[in-house]
C-alpha cells in the first residue's frame, strides 16, 4: 500500500461526493415530472407505442408492464443473436450465436447481469452489440431505477393506490439521465483512446514480422452505458482490462466514477422525494463505510507478496507497482485494480479491469462478499437502492423489537406483510445461490468446468452463482461457463435474482403507498442519525455473515491459510 494509492482513493471519493447531490436533486425533478425539455422525444415514444402517459399504475399493473417489457426485449435480443449473420453491421461475417449461449446472453443482458459465458471477442456482431446488448444496458438500468423510484413513491405517498407509470419512468430515465450523460462520457472515453467505429478488423504487421489482427467496433458508446447503468458487459472478453475499452488511468477513473454515480445520487433522490434529506445521507454514509472497508482489505491483500514465489521482486517502488500483478494491467497496478474490483462488485456492475480469479485469496474474497451483501454499497442503479431499503426496513424492525414498539419507517408503520416481503427478498438470494453451488460441486457437469482445484475451485463455482444471482456478471473467469449445465443454471439464476426479487419489492411499494402516515412520536426510531447508520451497517454485516460465512471459510479463507503453508494444487 502506498501514499499515492490512498490519495487516488480519496480523490475518487471526494469527486463522487461532490457530484451525487446535484444529480440526485435533478433526478428527483425528473421523476416528479417537473422537467420537460425533451418532451418531443418523450411524446414520440408514447405515441408510437400507445402509452397513456397521464395514467398511473397500481403495483400489480406496474409489475406486469415491467415483466412483459423484459420478456419482449429478451426475445428480440435472442432473435438478433441467432440471425446476426443476415443482419447489417457484421463486417467479420460472424455466424449466428448458438442457441443455449444466445439464451444465456439474452437473459444476462435483460437482467442487468451481463454475465458473458462466451470467451471470445469474435462472437457478437456490431449490430448485436449495439441493438441487442447495449440496448439492454440502457433499459435494464432504466427498469431497475424505475422500480426503485416506485418504491420511493410507496414510502412517500399516503393512502395512494398507484405508484407511478412504468413506461413513463423508464422513458424519462433514459432520455433525461442516461442518454445525455452517455453521449458526453462516451466522447471523453474516445479522447483517451477508446475506439468507436464500424470498420472491419485491422491487420497489422508487427516489428517482428508477424501479423496481428486487431479487433475494432463501436466500443465507446457501449462503454459509457456499461458503467453508468452498472451493467458491466464488456465489448471484448477482457472487459475493462482491454486497452480499447479502458486505455488510460483517467479512462479508468471515469469508468469507476460512472459506476457509482447514479447509485450514490439515488440516495439523495430518496431523501428529496420522501422529504427527509438526512435519511438519504445516513444511507450514503453506511454505503461509504462499507466501500472503504472493502477497498482497504482488497488493496492490502493484493499488495502483499506471494509467499510461494522466488527469484522475483514483488516490492512496490517508484518504478513498479509490485504486489500480485497476475491478471493486472501495468497502467493500473495494484491500486486502480483493487479499487475497480471493489467498486464493480459494490455496485452490480461486473465490469472488470483485472482478473478476479487470479487475486490473492483474501483479495478475491472482497468482491465475493460485496456481491453476497446484496450489492447495496451504492449498488446497481435502482437495485442498490431498493436492496438497501430492504435492510433499512429490517433495521427499523429490529430496532422496534428492541424497544417493544411497532416499527415505523418515515411515518409508515411496518407491519407483518411488509416484513414478510422483506424476508422473502432476503431469503430468495442465498437459497438459489447455495442450492446451485451445492449442485455444482456435487456433479461432474459442475466440476468439469473448473480451471483451478482445491478451495479455489469451490470459490470459482460459488462466485459464478453469487455473481449471476446478484446480477453482477463479473466472474472468476477460469471457470468455463459456456457449457449446457452452466448456461442453463446461471441463466435461471439471473432471472430469479432479478425478477423474483423485484416482485416482492413492488408489492412492498404498493402496500406502503396504501398506508396512512403517522406523525413521529418520542418512541420513533429516527432514520437520519449516525446511530441509525451504525445499526444499518451492523444489520447488513450480520445478515451477510450468518448466511455465507460457512461457504467463505471453505473457500477463500481456507485457501489463504493453505497458501501461507505453501500448499499448491495441480
Amino acid at each position: 500500500m502506498t501514499a499515492n494509492g490512498w490519495l487516488q482513493f480519496i480523490v475518487y471519493f471526494v469527486v463522487l461526493l461532490v457530484c451525487v447531490r446535484p444529480l440526485g436533486i435533478y433526478m428527483a425533478k425528473v421523476f416528479e415530472g417537473k422537467l420537460h425539455f425533451l418532451r418531443p422525444f418523450e411524446r414520440l415514444i408514447y405515441r408510437v407505442s400507445g402509452v397513456r402517459s397521464d395514467e398511473e399504475m397500481t403495483w400489480k399493473e406496474y409489475t406486469v408492464a415491467m415483466l412483459l417489457f423484459s420478456f419482449v426485449s429478451l426475445i428480440l435480443t435472442y432473435v438478433f443473436e441467432r440471425l446476426q449473420h443476415v443482419l447489417p453491421w457484421n463486417p467479420q461475417h460472424l455466424p449466428g450465436v448458438e442457441a443455449f449461449l444466445a439464451w444465456n446472453t439474452a437473459a444476462s443482458f435483460t437482467t442487468n447481469t451481463n454475465w458473458q459465458a462466451y470467451s471470445n471477442d469474435v462472437t457478437m456482431s456490431y449490430f448485436t452489440q449495439m441493438a441487442g446488448l447495449a440496448y439492454h444496458n440502457f433499459f435494464s438500468a432504466a427498469a431497475g431505477i424505475a422500480v426503485a423510484i416506485a418504491l420511493v413513491r410507496g414510502v412517500a405517498r399516503r393512502e395512494a393506490k398507484t405508484i407511478g407509470n412504468f413506461w413513463v419512468d423508464v422513458t424519462r430515465t433514459c432520455l433525461y439521465v442516461l442518454v445525455p450523460l452517455c453521449i458526453v462520457f462516451a466522447l471523453v472515453l474516445v479522447s483517451q483512446g477508446v475506439i468507436q467505429n464500424l470498420h472491419p478488423y485491422t491487420v497489422a504487421h508487427t516489428l517482428e514480422h508477424q501479423t496481428q489482427t486487431i479487433a475494432q467496433g463501436p466500443v465507446a458508446s457501449q462503454e459509457a452505458i456499461k458503467e453508468l447503468g452498472t451493467n458491466g458487459g464488456g465489448f471484448f472478453s477482457a472487459n475493462s482490462a482491454h486497452p480499447f475499452e479502458n486505455p488510460t488511468a483517467f479512462s479508468n477513473f471515469i469508468e469507476m466514477f460512472l459506476i457509482f454515480l447514479i447509485g450514490g445520487a439515488l440516495t439523495v433522490t430518496l431523501g428529496r422525494m420522501t422529504g427527509s434529506p438526512g435519511h438519504g445521507w445516513a444511507i450514503f454514509a453506511c454505503m461509504s463505510i462499507l466501500f472503504a472497508a472493502g477497498f482497504t482489505v482488497c488493496y492490502w491483500a493484493e499488495s502483499q507478496p506471494s509467499p510461494v514465489l522466488h527469484g522475483v521482486t514483488q516490492q512496490a517502488s517508484a518504478l513498479q507497482p509490485g504486489g500480485n500483478m497476475e491478471g493486472k494491467e501495468a497502467r493500473f497496478g495494484i491500486t486502480d485494480s483493487s479499487m475497480f474490483a471493489t467498486i464493480t462488485t459494490d455496485a452490480s456492475c461486473g465490469a472488470v479491469n483485472s482478473m478476479h480469479d487470479s487475486y490473492m485469496p483474501l483479495g478475491g474474497m472482497v468482491p465475493l462478499i460485496n456481491i453476497m451483501l446484496g450489492e447495496i454499497i451504492f449498488g446497481g442503479v435502482g437495485s442498490g437502492l431498493y436492496g438497501m431499503i430492504i435492510y433499512v426496513v429490517l433495521s427499523v424492525f429490529i430496532a422496534g423489537l428492541m424497544v417493544g414498539r411497532t416499527p415505523e419507517y418515515l411515518g409508515k408503520k411496518i407491519e407483518s406483510y411488509d416484513v414478510k416481503m422483506t424476508m422473502l427478498y432476503v431469503l430468495i438470494f442465498p437459497l438459489v445461490i447455495l442450492v446451485l453451488t451445492a449442485i455444482g460441486v456435487l456433479t461432474h457437469a459442475g466440476l468439469s468446468s473448473l480451471a483451478n482445484n482445491g478451495p479455489h475451485g469451490l470459490t470459482e463455482i460459488l462466485y459464478a452463482y453469487v455473481s449471476t444471482a446478484g446480477n453482477n456478471g463479473s466472474a472468476f473467469a477460469g471457470l468455463n461457463a459456456n457449457t449446457k449445465f452452466y448456461n442453463i443454471t446461471t441463466g435461471f439464476n439471473m432471472l430469479t435474482g432479478r425478477f423474483l426479487m423485484m416482485i416482492p419489492m413492488l408489492a412492498l411499494a404498493g402496500n406502503l403507498a396504501r398506508k396512512k402516515s403517522v406523525p413521529p412520536s418520542p418512541g420513533t426510531f429516527p432514520v437520519n442519525t449516525p446511530l441509525f447508520t451504525v445499526l444499518l451497517t451492523s444489520v447488513i454485516l450480520i445478515v451477510g455473515a450468518l448466511t455465507f460465512f460457512p461457504a467463505l471459510s471453505l473457500g477463500p479463507i481456507l485457501e489463504h491459510l493453505l497458501l501461507h503453508h505453501g500448499v499448491l494444487f495441480s
Partner: protein, 196 residues
C-alpha cells in the same frame, strides 16, 4: 394484459431504433468527426504500413527488442481473443509457469542484476498490455544494449525518455510503452529495422 403486451412490443421496437441504433451511430459520427485517429484504434504506421496500435501490446522475442509482459490472449498477443490466465494463487501451474519465465530471463538477460521484476513474469488481464513498468524496462537494458552493440547508457537514456509518469501527476502507475520504445530503438542512427 394483452393491451400491455402490445404496448411492450411497440415500445421495444421504437426504443431499439432510437437507442439501439440511433445512439451508437450518433456517437460514432461525433467521434469520427472530432477524434478519428483515436476512434480508429490509435494505429501506428511506419513506411506506409500499419505496424500495430499504440494501445495494443505485441509479442517480442528477439533480444534486439524490449519484451512485453507474457500474454494469455489466445496463443499469445491475439487481439481477437483478449483475456488473462485466470490461474489462482495456489495453482501449481501458475508457479511452474513463473519459475520457467524467471529461468528464461536469466538466460536472455544474464547481465541484469537482481531478481526479475514481477511484471515481466505475470500475464496481464487483457493479454494485450501495451506497457511494462519502468523497472521492467530498465531490467532489459543490458540485453538490448548487447544485442544492438550500443552502450548501455544510450539505451538507458532512451528508456528514461519513454517513461510516462502518472496521469495528471497522481493517477495510475508510471509505464513504458513497449511498441513505441522499440520503434524509437529502430529509429536510432545506424540501427536497421529488421531483426532477421
Amino acid at each position: 394484459m394483452r393491451n400491455t403486451l402490445v404496448i411492450a412490443i411497440r415500445y421495444t421496437i421504437i426504443t431499439t431504433i432510437l437507442l439501439g441504433i440511433g445512439y451508437p451511430l450518433l456517437v460514432t459520427g461525433l467521434a469520427q468527426l472530432m477524434m478519428p485517429a483515436k476512434a480508429n484504434g490509435s494505429l501506428i504506421t511506419r513506411d506506409g504500413q500499419v505496424v500495430g496500435s499504440a494501445l495494443i501490446g505485441q509479442g517480442f522475442t528477439s533480444p534486439r527488442y524490449f519484451h512485453s509482459r507474457p500474454s494469455a490472449a489466445g496463443n499469445g498477443w491475439d487481439a481477437t481473443s483478449s483475456g488473462g490466465s485466470n490461474l489462482g494463487p495456489t495453482n501449481q501451474a501458475l508457479m511452474t509457469r513463473i519459475d520457467a519465465a524467471v529461468a528464461q530471463w536469466h538466460k536472455d538477460d544474464p547481465e541484469a542484476k537482481g531478481p526479475v521484476p514481477i511484471g515481466l513474469v505475470t500475464t496481464s488481464g487483457s493479454g494485450l498490455d501495451p506497457d511494462i513498468s519502468p523497472e521492467g524496462a530498465l531490467y532489459q537494458v543490458p540485453m538490448v544494449a548487447a544485442a544492438r552493440h550500443l552502450p548501455e547508457e544510450t539505451v538507458r537514456a532512451l528508456v528514461e525518455s519513454h517513461i510516462e509518469g502518472r496521469q495528471f501527476g497522481f493517477l495510475g502507475e508510471p509505464t513504458v510503452n513497449v511498441l513505441e520504445l522499440n520503434l524509437a530503438l529502430d529509429a536510432l542512427p545506424g540501427q536497421s529495422q529488421t531483426s532477421k
